[in-house]
């Protein structure tokens, strides 16, 4: 009663703040129009398009081999998984089966990509919350994976290692040893991540109960990946619709029900363990086989629609290809995880503080080129 009177007497004025396009917590060129009352957020209105390159339109112009390298530039932290999604969709259209070797290698590299992406996220999460040192520890470990990629694929980030029908070339002879070396290294470092950040009382206070997303909302908003799984939405495409070699490995789907930033954090930490266990299972027995299933030089998909879902590092990535039988796709749509996850932001940060918004955004792990495409 008294509180209400005070609130009525103290009339505050809301004001707008442009968070972005250049803002340290936006991790790129995300612009959020915040309506703020003091420190309390009343509304978050994302304004996108600062890095929109019209990849979907470009795909309508390019051949099927060429669209693969465009997807590198979408979610550049899980570029291999994006490539894989397009290749799987095209292979579905061509109705060809790649060899087991290709499947296993794709899976291993996908998981390495996921690990690299989550490592970077861990560093950035700490940095967003003010613990700058995490960034460097994460980069130290990520360097191993980037070196593996560089040795095998020739590039560190935009690898373009997949082609429709297989892989561009075979893995490097050092690949297996280097991956094992990395696993040994990272298994000692991951508990350190926990000691440094997860247990920290300030970190716990900053993330626990912040940005709570319920399971119903997660499904309704299409929030997938660690965001959805942090809310208890079992949305792992690797489990639901297995592709590549995921049907032959044992792994747990990281599920937490709290739905707050800490749950999303824990999902990613657990996913790192699971990714390592998947690689552990596959690395020792990569089957022999062809690295490419021969396709025609000019791929023409039959008339029809092809949809492929994969689990990218940030959630479900869907590739929709509509073909009219020509050498170019008629329409390509990328259902990017970041875009759907972003739509949740306004819903769950209303009434929170600016610092909570930063913590929530950090736990969402936005990659802006993924949202803008």
């Amino acid at each position: 009663m008294v509180e209400k009177e005070i609130v009525n007497k103290m009339k505050t004025e809301e004001y707008f703040v442009n968070m972005g396009p250049q803002h340290p917590a936006a991790h790129g060129v995300l612009r959020l129009l915040l309506t703020i009352d003091g420190e309390i957020i009343k509304n978050v209105d994302p304004d996108l398009g600062y890095i929109h390159r019209s990849i979907e339109k470009m795909c309508e112009r390019d051949s099927y081999q060429q669209i693969v390298h465009l997807t590198d530039r979408m979610d550049y932290l899980s570029s291999h998984i994006n490539n894989e999604a397009v290749c799987l969709a095209v292979e579905k259209g061509l109705d060809i089966e790649v060899s087991d070797r290709v499947k296993v290698i794709r899976t291993i590299i996908s998981e390495l990509t996921r690990l690299a992406s989550h490592q970077l996220w861990w560093g950035v999460m700490g940095m967003d919350l003010g613990a700058l040192t995490t960034y460097f520890y994460a980069f130290r470990d990520r360097e191993y994976i980037n070196d593996i990629f560089e040795e095998t694929c020739g590039a560190r980030l935009t690898m373009n290692y997949n082609i429709p029908g297989g892989l561009m070339y075979d893995i490097h002879p050092n690949f297996v040893n280097r991956v094992k070396e990395f696993l040994v290294h990272f298994k000692t470092k991951l508990p350190e991540y926990d000691r440094l950040l997860t247990g920290n009382v300030i970190f716990q206070k900053r993330t626990k109960g912040v940005g709570v997303l319920t399971k119903e909302d997660a499904i309704s908003y299409g929030a997938t990946g660690p965001v959805g799984r942090g809310s208890g939405f079992a949305c792992d495409v690797r489990k639901k619709h297995p592709y590549s070699a995921y049907d032959r490995v044992e792994f747990k789907e990281a599920l937490f029900t709290e739905g707050d930033s800490l749950a999303r954090y824990k999902v990613r930490i657990m996913e790192m363990w699971e990714s390592m266990s998947i690689i552990d299972q596959l690395i020792d027995n990569i089957p022999e086989g062809d690295i490419k299933t021969p396709t025609k030089a000019v791929i023409k998909l039959p008339k029809g629609e092809f949809y492929q879902r994969v689990e990218a590092a940030r959630g479900e990535l869907g590739v929709y290809i509509n073909s009219t039988g020509t050498k170019n796709p008629y329409r390509v749509k990328f259902r990017s995880s970041g875009f759907s996850n972003l739509s949740v932001l306004n819903h769950i940060t209303k009434g929170a503080k600016i610092a909570d918004l930063v913590a929530t955004m950090a736990s969402f792990d936005f990659v802006i080129p993924d949202i803008d495409r």
Binding site: D62, Q65, Q66, V68, H69, L70, D72, T133, F136, Y137, F139, R140, E143, D147, E150, E151, T152, C153, G154, A155, T158, N160, I163, M168, Y169, H172, E192, R195, L196, L197, G199, N200, V201, I202, Q204, A297
Partner: protein, 158 residues
């Protein structure tokens, strides 16, 4: 009671975190993870498959393997490769045949996707491992890959 256990746990976790960073501080002498880049140019070696830029190897007779089939030009997603060609009379056989005049490569437009090298039937172009590609003027990024006066190695079309 939870008030005091909160304080105790809080301090404990803070000290755990400090022990991690403190451990690294003490071991900082062992060396950093950063590379002192311009200083280590001598020892810095890229991996064999590193995609630096597209080059066309020539052998000692100044001959290359490019037949001018243009598959790289077609495969390139962003038009980084242009091939200027014409039909010339082959001095040996006397037949007219496709010869490249210039294999123009726009490094500035290249996304290092590797599709041209994949599509090349004669392995005429390969990746170079150089990593310092910056120049002071954009025009230097447009390169002619075949050396002046070079010709295609005989018998490569077959």
């Amino acid at each position: 009671m939870s008030y005091f256990s909160d304080i105790y746990n809080g301090i404990k976790t803070l000290l755990t975190g400090m022990s991690v960073t403190g451990g690294y501080f003490i071991r900082a002498r062992k060396g950093s993870i950063t590379q002192q880049y311009p200083d280590n140019r001598e020892t810095l070696k890229m991996f064999d498959r590193f995609r630096g830029e597209v080059v066309m190897p020539h052998d000692e007779n100044n001959e290359h393997y490019c037949t001018g089939c243009q598959s790289c030009e077609i495969a390139c997603p962003n038009g980084s490769i242009e091939i200027v060609w014409d039909r010339q009379v082959d001095p040996e056989t006397g037949k007219k045949k496709k010869m490249i005049d210039k294999h123009i490569y726009h490094l500035g437009m290249c996304t290092m996707c590797g599709l041209c090298i994949e599509s090349c039937p004669t392995d005429a172009i390969v990746w170079a491992q150089n990593y310092e590609n910056s120049v002071y003027d954009r025009k230097y990024l447009t390169k002619v890959l075949n050396q002046p006066g070079s010709k295609v190695k005989a018998g490569i079309e077959d």
